[in-house]
């Protein structure tokens, strides 16, 4: 679709991000908010508010739907309905895109309309657009980074203050960086969705979310942070994937990075995400991973791209990508309340707090940690970078 008149947008959601998008759009003449749907309508919103998605889907003057309500339902039905009705969809919904990737990408291709979700991974960072640009020119062989602002804020706070996990979480909640129910951030489910979407675009295929190994930071304690400081390391929740022969490795885990890695210096709730291209080496992208304006900015950039003629997803490749983490080996820091047979055979060094293992595979130690938590629910592991 090429635009000779203003893009007419239906805005689903007028919450934190939605109202930011609304504000940005007020300043433009090439795009307009045709209508919005929202349970709560902030003061100052003057566009028509519709009550039913059908009003939007049947309105042929609306060419683009921006979905910023989040969650799976009704977002899934509404986005599917919009694509089916031949409307471009721009969304910040990582859960939706990660969960229904193949179906939605195929539908956008079939209908010849845009499906974009740049704000879904990296908030305000031009990550997915940069990743797509690279992947189109040359093989991306690796992705990694800090992709969750909530956990980075908590880890950064614990390192700075020496305080407890509970206090750092409370502070994150007070500042609006963590939700009332922060489980998906802390256990890694949120960052996993971002890694899945990024890996799909990077390698051209579809990763099954459940195949991506994940360890979160919910079990970390101040004694761990103190141990890392003695080691001269900084703990960060790192998501990583890389291309292997016939499969990919993909995992998320707390990682102990040295001061020489830029990841070590990422403060507050910021993100740093990197790609490695076969010829161009490493490129990294840093910025706010969440927040009204950063996220609304990427939604707007998606609108600009669609206005410029983009009429597809970032890739149309939907072959399955098999995940195998058994060849990725590193030493791990392990804190648990005893030493079982498996761990005993892998000890490299006993620390004042915790144990350093010899190099073990991601597959092996993630499985061990999950099993171990049946007897020691506070067991924590972190890989040494």
């Amino acid at each position: 679709m090429k635009y000779n008149k203003p893009m007419r947008i239906a805005l689903l959601g007028l919450g934190t991000v939605g109202y930011g998008v609304y504000e940005f759009l007020q300043k433009r003449s090439d795009m307009e908010v045709a209508c919005a749907m929202s349970l709560v309508v902030p003061d100052g919103v003057t566009c028509p508010i519709v009550k039913s998605i059908d009003e939007i889907l049947s309105d042929e003057s609306i060419d683009t739907v921006v979905e910023v309500i989040g969650g799976l339902h009704p977002a899934y039905e509404w986005v599917k309905g919009a694509l089916s009705a031949g409307k471009n969809v721009i969304t910040a919904n990582k859960l939706l895109i990660a969960r229904h990737y193949s179906e939605l990408v195929a539908l956008s291709k079939e209908r010849g309309v845009a499906l974009r979700c740049t704000a879904a991974a990296g908030g305000g960072i031009p990550w997915l657009t940069s990743l797509k640009r690279c992947a189109e020119q040359e093989p991306v062989i690796r992705i990694s980074g800090i992709m969750n602002g909530t956990t980075n804020f908590i880890l950064d706070t614990m390192h700075r203050t020496g305080g407890s996990f509970a206090d750092a979480l409370k502070e994150a909640q007070r500042l609006g960086y963590a939700e009332a129910n922060p489980a998906d951030d802390l256990n890694g489910a949120d960052i996993r969705r971002k890694l899945v979407i990024s890996s799909n675009i990077a390698y051209g295929g579809v990763v099954n979310e459940d195949d991506v190994a994940v360890e979160g930071i919910e079990h970390i304690q101040d004694v761990d942070i103190a141990a890392f400081k003695r080691m001269g390391r900084v703990c960060k929740l790192i998501a990583a994937s890389r291309k292997l022969d016939g499969c990919i490795a993909a995992y998320i885990e707390p990682s102990l990075v040295p001061p020489s890695m830029p990841e070590s210096a990422i403060p507050d709730n910021y993100n740093l995400i990197s790609l490695t291209g076969q010829h161009i080496g490493k490129q990294s992208f840093y910025g706010q991973g969440a927040g009204r304006y950063p996220t609304a900015y990427n939604v707007l950039q998606d609108c600009v791209d669609v206005l410029g003629g983009v009429d597809c997803f970032y890739t149309d490749r939907l072959e399955p990508l098999r995940v195998d983490n058994s060849s990725v080996e590193r030493p791990y820091y392990v804190r648990t309340n005893g030493v079982d047979k498996w761990l005993q055979a892998r000890i490299d060094k006993m620390l004042d707090c915790g144990i350093m293992t010899k190099a073990v595979s991601v597959t092996e130690i993630h499985a061990w940690a999950k099993e171990r938590r049946k007897t020691d629910s506070s067991c924590f592991i972190a890989s040494l970078r």
Copy 2:
């Protein structure tokens, strides 16, 4: 111009970058090297080699000229000729673009052809394209970063080894990170061109290169690095500009950054460049600032954009941008062989090596340092961040 057939490219230069571009283009069906001009033709190059620019300018089948010979002449005449002949120009030549900015941007606009130079600032980093995307959506209020790989390598080496400037420079030359005559890298002339081009695009206007205050790293010594280590700081050559009321501040100087700033952890010859948008906050971009494939990658991305319909420069705004650094104040580290009246009045603290001043303006201290070098040629200054 919209492309229904392959883009036909004349490649000016088959050196380090040029041959990288040539290799990338061999893999594509949507672009082809129509011919090349080069004094030396590497083995394996099979395209026609022409002897005169006129053969290219008069060949109507050639739509795009890629200039990667560097230097002012004959690059200036050739690029001007190509634009005048209605051909798109893609170049990695920062000297050319910074020096003849207004003329070349105006010419590209007049002829309705693309002029792109993404590889000219940040090597392989998608910096100028990301900056342009942001500047089109919302006010960019600040730019800053490490934009010169040679000096970052030297500073990083001195910090790591504790060795001398001369040894670090020798190592940079051995690895191909510094040229035989490294003056433009060391004295800041190279990074200044990148800051000028970036500022022009960020703020929409034209900065006079000579108005940008610059202090390089050619006077730094191992004793300075040792002093910075005692302060817990890392020395980086930072280029920065920001929007002020009716003017901009723009300067380049060695800067002492704390470990909490990601700039402190940028290794080897890498670059890290940041923009700050009014609403979206800080975004940073990290990668190799030079080298065959990184640089060729950005040249290729420019070709991709032109193929996709780009037919202009990043901006067409050519109003003069006045530079005034008198309101930017910071404390400075100063090492000189005595204390004159100006310095005496501004001492905050005497160090084992050097002096920390009270906050002084960029305008004032840069002027003082230049004057001071008439009596102490090795005088070195660095701002405290």
